[in-house]
Symmetry: C2
């Protein structure tokens, strides 16, 4: 058991190290040597646990997809405040894009020209936004004249844009940055019934602060 635990830990450390190296120099320029030595291991450890760099890239993407799933949570078919939940979750996602190198690398691999990916984390995010807005519509939280598809497009794109801009200036993914967007959009998006109760800067302890969540390790 101790041996299995050690192997799992080694894998997780290599995934994190790979994510950081991909992040700095892109997939193409990342050498197995740079990845293993960043984790304080030999190149043999990479070959033993993953085989090659591509398999390591796949492992990073999978861990990132699991982190995203953890951030969004399952779709609540009934939720007392679906729009607020969407706002809060977008704050969590933006924050984790800053703090979690594995999540960030997963999203960036999807737009790295030197990486051919099957998955697409932005699509996973888009699907979740779509479901949440559908729940909001069904519960009368959405302004009747707003098109769900239009809102899905805008909310998906704007978070992707924050990630792109945050590569230059982390402010874009900060609470203040995301708050700007919701402050602008919520009065348009929300029905009269719920508009006054919404908090654009978010309401709950974000998922990345909850004890026991280690997004970088893809649990």
């Amino acid at each position: 058991m101790a041996k299995q635990h050690r192997a799992l830990r080694t894998r997780q450390e290599l995934i994190r190290s790979a994510a950081e190296v991909f992040d700095h120099v892109g997939f193409a320029d990342s050498s197995i040597n740079a990845i293993s030595s960043r984790a304080g291991m030999s190149t043999g450890a990479v070959h033993f646990h993953f085989g090659n760099k591509r398999a390591l890239g796949n492992a990073v993407e999978l861990a990132a997809a699991q982190s995203l799933l953890h951030i969004t949570g399952r779709i609540p078919l009934r939720h007392p405040a679906p729009l607020q939940h969407l706002v809060d979750t977008s704050h969590s996602l933006a924050r984790c894009l800053l703090d979690d190198p594995v999540l960030r690398a997963g999203f960036r691999l999807g737009t790295d020209a030197t990486w051919q990916s099957d998955g697409d984390l932005w699509e996973q995010w888009q699907d979740w936004v779509h479901m949440m807005l559908t729940v909001a519509r069904d519960q009368g939280s959405l302004a009747p004249e707003v098109g769900v598809e239009d809102a899905v497009y805008a909310i998906t794109a704007v978070v992707a844009g924050f990630e792109v801009r945050a590569r230059r200036d982390a402010e874009w993914c900060s609470r203040q940055g995301v708050n700007r967007f919701w402050r602008l959009l919520l009065p348009r998006l929300a029905s009269e019934r719920v508009a006054r109760s919404l908090v654009p800067e978010g309401t709950v302890t974000p998922v990345w602060r909850l004890a026991g969540h280690t997004p970088a390790l893809g649990r």
Copy 2:
């Protein structure tokens, strides 16, 4: 003169070819050999006209910055319809991001981990959006309760997000895709006086259709 013209043309063809290769495999994996043979030239032509790959990258970025300047145009301090001009220009930019490999490569180099850039085309776009919204505010076209900074953030980020998503699905940068965003945002952004006159799908012949504009060549 004919010789100078030929040299200019060769440079432009190499810039376009480099942009296409950067786009496909990223800066790091782009070889001078792939770039020159795509343009139907020898590697010697690249060395003669640019010296090295980095100089070619700089030339791509400069040509893209010029194209962006051409798309946005100069800031009109007085404009009869500043918000509509912003909408129309965002359509042009999105369209050119699809059609013009040099413009696209310029924006993408700015987020390529294997490229260290001084410039940043998204910042150039952001500054232009900021100026246009300031003009709109001064002329009473902006809803009084909307914060200019909030709108600058959202509009900059959403177009950056469209570019990211369009790498997977061109629909995001299409007229229909950009229209979705403006259909959602304009009723919130515009003052009552101008709201009814705005056309989210754009009004003018986009710049990329005007005869004589060859954005890819960075003129």
